[in-house]
């Protein structure tokens, strides 16, 4: 049952909402509306000439086979990153939640990578796995693996997925750990007394009680893979080889910044925005039902 408060003054609730609304309008609705407007324009890179072209940018976009391919790439990339970063983080969190010596040190070490900027994380992984010079690529080659992310699209995808997952695990770990620590010990102990083994206790007690955290992280992670990973992709593969790691957000960047095609790039951001809004809505509509608060 939700609590409701009754305000006597009609103006007060709006006044209290005002700062929040200003922030949302200035930092979200205003840029978003700009992107929508720009997607109907054709501009040169310097913004000297600007012409209203209606839906021409969208037509050109949906006529590109590469665009559909970037959608597929995005689907593969985001499901891999979201699944892996959530499950690995959950595994680590459950381990760190046990009574360990130096648990504090483990936890700190786990949280550290979150402080690394995406581009730096990208460069780090790029160097470790650079085919001929990377300190991890050489042993790989020594073992007979023909490691070559410069040409092999599967290798390139593995590399960007690893870098993106590594970057996100800390964040997920932090929330999972907090979630785990808020589960009352008594419930778990009761389960143990009733004869439930550790696996059973985890799946029937801990995991359901953790579901609000998991749901929150799912939403955040989807937004992360859709919007925040382009720095990593830019640094590691530049969208290559042969466009195999060009996700939708990287294409927005490539067409807008490298190509100077601001209208086409804006049209792509609008499409991307619609997709993410739809995904979030679906998550709230269907997945949230399974969440037990």
């Amino acid at each position: 049952m939700e609590k409701s408060t009754v305000f006597n003054n009609r103006l007060l609730p709006y006044l209290l909402l005002f700062p929040q609304l200003v922030v949302i309008i200035v930092f979200f609705y205003w840029p978003a509306s700009q992107a929508v407007w720009q997607s109907f324009l054709r501009e040169d890179a310097f913004g000297l000439v600007s012409e209203f072209v209606g839906f021409e940018n969208y037509q050109a976009l949906f006529a590109q086979p590469e665009y559909y391919r970037s959608m597929l790439t995005t689907a593969i990339f985001s499901s891999l990153v979201a699944t892996l970063s959530l499950s690995i983080a959950l595994l680590f969190a459950t381990q760190a939640d046990k009574n360990l010596k130096a648990a504090g040190a483990y936890k700190t070490l786990m949280i550290w990578p979150y402080a690394v900027a995406p581009a730096v994380a990208g460069v780090l992984w790029f160097f470790m796995f650079q085919p001929s010079l990377g300190m991890l690529a050489r042993p790989l080659r020594g073992m007979g693996v023909d490691w070559n992310p410069l040409l092999n699209s599967t290798h390139a995808m593995i590399l960007v997925v690893m870098a993106s997952v590594w970057k996100q695990i800390s964040y997920n770990f932090l929330f999972f750990l907090a979630g785990l620590q808020s589960i009352p010990r008594s419930v778990i102990e009761a389960g143990a007394i009733d004869g439930a083994g550790p696996m059973r206790r985890f799946w029937t007690i801990v995991f359901p009680l953790l579901s609000p955290t998991t749901f929150f992280l799912l939403v955040v992670n989807v937004v992360y893979v859709f919007f925040d990973t382009f720095g990593i992709i830019d640094a590691v593969t530049g969208g290559g080889p042969a466009g195999s790691t060009t996700t939708m957000v990287y294409k927005v960047y490539a067409d807008g910044r490298l190509g100077g095609d601001l209208g086409g790039s804006a049209a792509q951001s609008v499409v991307l925005m619609v997709i993410v809004i739809a995904l979030t809505a679906i998550q709230f509509r269907y997945v949230e039902r399974k969440v037990q608060y």
Partner: protein, 437 residues
């Protein structure tokens, strides 16, 4: 706390204010993309210029890679605070040229400032790239380079390759021998995939990259680099890639380190790699002209330039433009140009600097900096080898590389890949044509 900081800040400001000379110094912002040894050269040039006169101060700032620098400049222009001088790589030329109003043409700048300026003093193979069809110089060539083939002489000797290979079949043979001699991960390689295998390759074989003299004569140009010779070359690379006789080196220059590390003994990249090679390669190396196919009519033709030029941004004060003009005159000085050329491996931009370097007997002792000049002046340029000017070229290069990668990875045949590169490139050119009108 806040008040105390304010106090310190005020004191500092006053102190600095007192330290400043009585007359105002006009600052000139110079955004560039030079790293390593070349970054030091940029800073030294600025220092020397600032020390040479009291009125102007050139302030160089490193803004990232070539595309980053260009984007930073464009974004700054849109926000109303562009730098005075912006270094733009040669593929950004069409974009800058079409931005009338955003830029101040160099010939105009020099005329307005009354600085001595003779367009004929500069090497035409270089300035042709940055001039209108009427010969008006739009930007100031700074670091020009061309593509050469870097050779690890020690390793070639070990592998039993007596002569430096001249043709592509000879390169393939040498690479096979190198591979047999232990270079099992790389027979030969290159940096800048599109620049090497499409742009330079076409000019060197007197084949058009696109119609309208590779776009120099108009934005309504169409790409043409899917000819049988182009297809044959890419097919050869695809075949050799399978057993690492050829090892793809990526779109940029990151892989140049594989030459210095000794892994790849034959490596095609910019002549501007000289400064880095000198300091990192621990073996006897040299540079040679790019290889060619002997059965291609007219090959080798001449190579084309790469590198970057300095663009002057529009909407600045006349006083500031005067400083920029003085700086360009300073850069054109023969002694300075000759020295820059000899140290960096970039080309001298004036005829006098080239002559001086020759007359000093520099090339007899150091043949490497002359290789790109030999390539550029191998034959009088044709429609196919004067240069190139395509809109959206920054991104188009990536697109071409994408298709080369698709062929090398076996996803497409060489013919399919080049056809796709041409078709997708043409679509981009048409978009650019609409905005550049």
């Amino acid at each position: 706390m806040a008040i105390r900081q304010f106090g310190v800040a005020t004191a500092l400001t006053v102190a600095l204010g007192l330290a400043t000379p009585a007359h105002a110094v006009t600052e000139i912002q110079w955004w560039h993309a030079m790293t390593g040894g070349n970054n030091d050269i940029v800073n030294r040039l600025a220092e020397e210029f600032n020390a040479s006169q009291p009125d102007y101060k050139v302030v160089p700032s490193y803004k990232g890679s070539y595309p980053d620098t260009m984007n930073a400049g464009i974004a700054a222009f849109r926000a109303g605070n562009a730098p005075h001088i912006m270094q733009v790589f040669e593929v950004g030329t069409a974009t800058m040229m079409s931005a009338t109003g955003a830029i101040k043409p160099v010939y105009q700048l020099m005329k307005d400032a009354g600085e001595p300026f003779d367009p004929n003093a500069y090497l035409p193979t270089i300035t042709g790239y940055y001039s209108t069809s009427k010969g008006e110089m739009l930007s100031f060539p700074f670091n020009s380079s061309s593509m050469v083939m870097w050779i690890n002489k020690d390793e070639l000797k070990k592998a039993g390759v007596a002569e430096i290979p001249k043709t592509w079949p000879e390169v393939f043979d040498a690479a096979r021998k190198l591979k047999a001699a232990g270079h099992d991960t790389c027979g030969f390689s290159n940096a800048w995939a599109s620049w090497a295998h499409i742009e330079q390759f076409s000019a060197w074989h007197n084949l058009p990259i696109g119609s309208k003299a590779n776009g120099l004569d108009g934005f309504d140009t169409e790409l043409k680099f899917n000819s049988p010779i182009h297809v044959k070359h890419l097919q050869n690379l695809v075949d050799l890639q399978k057993d690492k006789t050829y090892s793809y080196g990526g779109r940029g220059s990151a892989n140049e380190a594989r030459f210095a590390s000794g892994e790849c003994a034959i490596f095609l990249t910019s002549s501007g790699y000289y400064a880095t090679a000198k300091s990192t390669a621990k073996f006897d190396f040299t540079s040679a002209l790019m290889p060619y196919y002997p059965d291609a009519p007219g090959a080798p033709q001449n190579s084309i330039i790469g590198g970057a030029s300095l663009w002057v941004m529009g909407g600045k004060k006349p006083e500031e433009y005067k400083g920029v003009a003085k700086f360009f005159a300073f850069l054109s000085d023969t002694g300075r140009q000759a020295k820059l050329h000899q140290e960096s491996g970039y080309l001298p931009i004036t005829k006098a600097a080239y002559e001086k370097t020759k007359a000093d007997g520099f090339y007899a002792k150091n043949p490497i900096p002359e290789t790109p000049l030999k390539g550029l002046t191998n034959k009088p340029p044709t429609e196919n080898s004067r240069g190139l000017r395509f809109g959206n070229m920054v991104q188009m290069r990536d697109l071409w590389a994408e298709e080369i990668e698709a062929a090398l990875d076996g996803k497409k045949t060489a013919k399919e890949a080049l056809d796709a590169a041409v078709a997708r490139g043409n679509a981009m050119l048409r978009t650019f044509e609409k905005t550049a009108k």
